[in-house]
């Protein structure tokens, strides 16, 4: 269990430092989300589906003391009990994050909890995404050091957070990055900025399994480069992982590999980027027995556009760590103002295409089925794609300011979504959906604005067609009121409405939001990491404050 009493002395040390050497400052923030749940016969929420507590809340407060060479912080969490959709193992209260950090003579030492990322994160990334209820922070020691200008070293050892407990495995990591332009004087004035990097991550976990002979130490290494040349950026990272049989890969002993590469070009009013990835058996957990991403050491990005419009988020892509190949291309262009199409203010065009496929897999021999536990699993041709399409999306967004008061944003999204592979939905197979959104932003008066959204999703599969409308009225900087309704009119079994009313008040750094409405069941993803959201009906209250 996390030590729940460590922070008091921690802040005493902080104040001693402050008194002895220099003055520091204390900062922090607070957030509380609460909801009262009601029955709803239309949504099929009966008394047996309601949480026993009827009222649930997730709250936390962050406190941080910072001076020039010393900082210390903590986060107290109180989930009494966790909101529906968050894992019940988050129920409880306690200090889930605390650290001290000392930075003297170039050596930066963190003791306690910390978040970290090596390179793009495909070998190591610890982060928190509160909306997902995701937190895989390390608890241990981290050192950062720059021995000479242009050389940046990081090392860490620690265990990862697992709800209010810690994961079994110990993670050891080292990362080095070299900026060639900073090291070599001859390159300082060169237009190309080149950096190279490498990482080594190892995890240790006892082998207590009575069935498999498991590697206690699993090592993974990565190398990367990044080149900035004028308007061009080119980068790639490759990671290799030695045998790591786990619950996620069904206890196969195959090595893991992943490659991410991207190239982009941007100039005034125009930008274009391409990125590609290949992931093969690259789930890397600090507890081999845990499926999913709860204690992931690494992070495999989704390489798809992160949508914000409600109906465009119904079918989000979640990374398939066991194997996928995909690419993404994005083009942005601002059509000149004064032109026929650009009008008086110009028109923004954003086009994005992404896809993901399975990787090629072949049996290791005739007798062994693909992916069989306790074997090498399969062989795979690095450059060959599999036959199964996981995801494909094309979207285009046009934004144009009509006059000083009115702005329009139109979006079209075409999605192919392999529901069985991504979400575990059966029956529906490949869901093909078209989504149209029209957003208007209208300035009523100096401090008053009206924003509307009209959205439509059409599909012949899954829940069928959806329509949505939203009106939001803002009186800045203090108030907002919003009303919206989602209507699943294409659903063959039940055509449900999901209305929502919300109002917010903010003053200074405090903000209060009160809402009442219905929540549809679905999957919520951020960057390829997802959680299920259950249907609900109730009153919600959110309070945020920073200081």
């Amino acid at each position: 269990m996390y030590e729940k009493l460590l922070c008091a002395p921690l802040f005493c040390i902080g104040s001693l430092f402050a008194q002895g050497t220099e003055s520091g400052k204390i900062s922090g923030n607070f957030q509380s989300n609460a909801q009262i749940y009601y029955e709803d016969s239309n949504l099929g929420i009966g008394p047996e589906n309601l949480p026993e507590e009827k009222f649930l809340s997730n709250s936390f407060v962050n406190l941080q003391y910072t001076s020039n060479i010393f900082s210390a912080g903590m986060r107290y969490e109180a989930n009494q009990n966790s909101l529906l959709g968050y894992d019940k193992r988050y129920n409880g209260e306690g200090i889930a994050y605390r650290f001290v950090r000392i930075n003297r003579n170039g050596l930066d030492i963190t003791a306690g909890n910390f978040y970290e990322q090596f390179g793009s994160g495909i070998i190591l990334r610890a982060y928190e995404e509160r909306n997902l209820g995701y937190d895989n922070a390390f608890d241990g020691i981290r050192l950062k050091y720059s021995p000479i200008e242009g050389v940046y070293l990081k090392s860490l050892v620690g265990k990862q957070r697992w709800y209010f407990d810690k994961s079994e495995g110990i993670v050891r990591g080292f990362d080095g990055e070299i900026s060639l332009n900073e090291i070599f004087k001859a390159l300082r004035d060169v237009r190309s900025q080149i950096s190279i990097g490498g990482s080594l991550v190892s995890k240790f976990q006892q082998d207590l399994d009575p069935i498999y002979i498991l590697p206690k130490n699993v090592v993974s290494w990565a190398s990367r480069f990044n080149v900035h040349h004028g308007k061009w950026i080119l980068g790639a990272e490759y990671v290799y992982k030695y045998n790591d049989p786990s619950a996620t890969n069904n206890f196969i002993y195959k090595e893991g590999q992943a490659l991410l590469a991207n190239i982009s070009y941007s100039q005034k009013r125009f930008g274009i980027s391409f990125s590609g990835k290949r992931v093969d058996n690259m789930s890397f957990n600090s507890d081999r027995n845990l499926k999913g991403q709860e204690v992931s050491i690494n992070y495999l990005p989704a390489f798809t556009k992160q949508h914000t419009y409600t109906l465009a988020t119904i079918y989000p892509y979640g990374t398939i760590a066991n194997g996928e190949m995909g690419l993404q291309a994005e083009l942005s262009y601002l059509i000149k103002k004064g032109s026929r199409i650009g009008g008086g203010f110009g028109m923004g065009v954003l086009i994005n295409f992404s896809n993901a496929y399975s990787i090629h897999q072949a049996q290791i021999d005739e007798k062994t089925s693909l992916g069989k536990s306790g074997t090498l699993g399969y062989t795979s041709d690095f450059f060959k794609m599999g036959d199964e399409k996981y995801f494909q999306e094309f979207n285009i967004e046009l934004s144009r300011k009509i006059n000083r008061k009115l702005k329009l944003i139109g979006t079209y999204v075409n999605t192919h979504y392999n529901s069985k592979v991504i979400a575990g939905y059966d029956y529906f197979g490949m869901i093909k959906a078209n989504i149209l959104v029209l957003e208007t932003q209208y300035k009523l008066k100096a401090r008053q604005a009206l924003r509307t959204e009209i959205q439509h999703l059409s599909t012949k599969q899954h829940d069928g067609n959806w329509a949505m409308a939203l009106v939001e009225y803002t009186v800045s900087p203090h108030y907002f009121f919003a009303i919206q309704n989602l209507y699943n009119y294409g659903n063959k079994s039940k055509k449900n409405h999901y209305p929502n009313l919300s109002a917010g008040y903010g003053k200074g750094t405090n903000r209060f939001t009160l809402g009442y409405g219905k929540q549809k069941q679905g999957i919520f993803c951020v960057g390829g990491v997802c959680r299920e959201v259950p249907k609900s009906n109730g009153i919600s209250l959110s309070i945020t404050s920073s200081f």
């Binding site: 019940k88 193992r89 021995p147 000479i148 080292f174 002979i213 002993y253």
Partner: protein, 281 residues
Amino acid sequence: MRTLKHQVTLVSAFCIAFSSCDVIEGPFIEERVVSECSNKCRKILLEDYTGHMCGNCPRAAEKITELKNIYGDQLVVIAVHSGFFAEPSGTYFTNDFRTKTGNEWDEHFGNSAAGNPNGMVNRAGYSESSHILQYTQWAQKVEELLESEPKAAIELETNYNANTYDLTVTTEIEILQTISNPLSINLVLTESNVVGYQKDYDANPEKIPNYQHSHIMRKSLTGSWGKDLGKETYQNRSLISNTFHITLDEKWLPENMSIVAFITKTNTLEVVQAQESPVIK
């Protein structure tokens, strides 16, 4: 320059220190010899929270078969059908294997809310919210718990009347180490070889019509939380006897049924000892 050399050496040493990697060339699977269990050996209770609509649950059932092959009678299994995936659904999934006790356990321990399949091994870790284990974690937990000596032994005597469907079960508990906790005895009926629909994401088609369901919990004889044995402390070598009656449902096949008994600490619900006996010997 000298400092730089030192630093490079340090960094290299650091890299080498934790770059040690265990590459397993094979064989990958351990050769396990199952030793015969003595009369009063420790037995572990595995509760598998499952449902016929849960497409990943057959993997958990396969794991149970794997573990039963290793541990034999030392592993006692109850399959608790509960939660969304256990609800009757559509034309095919019409069976309802849910029970009042299973639903109450599921609500209390939060298993189906954490995503099926999962389970509990002796309900260990309940006080620290680490009781819900994925099926890949079961083996390790069973192995760990079997390392400790049994604190009690349970003997079961069954008497079944095929004409009236009445079953009488006599339990005799022998305390093998002094236990300073209130204890409860729990008895549930399980049935195996029940053929019905099961979803399996790895099968093609996914709907398997003739799936053999095993260890299905049918009913509890002692309510959801057991019968308290009435004391705060149980001295070594003390004996406690109880008798329970139940009338079996006509649809159940007694020859495929077992009685599962387990002792729990009344306050923490942690399982102290388990035992299983066929209804018809």
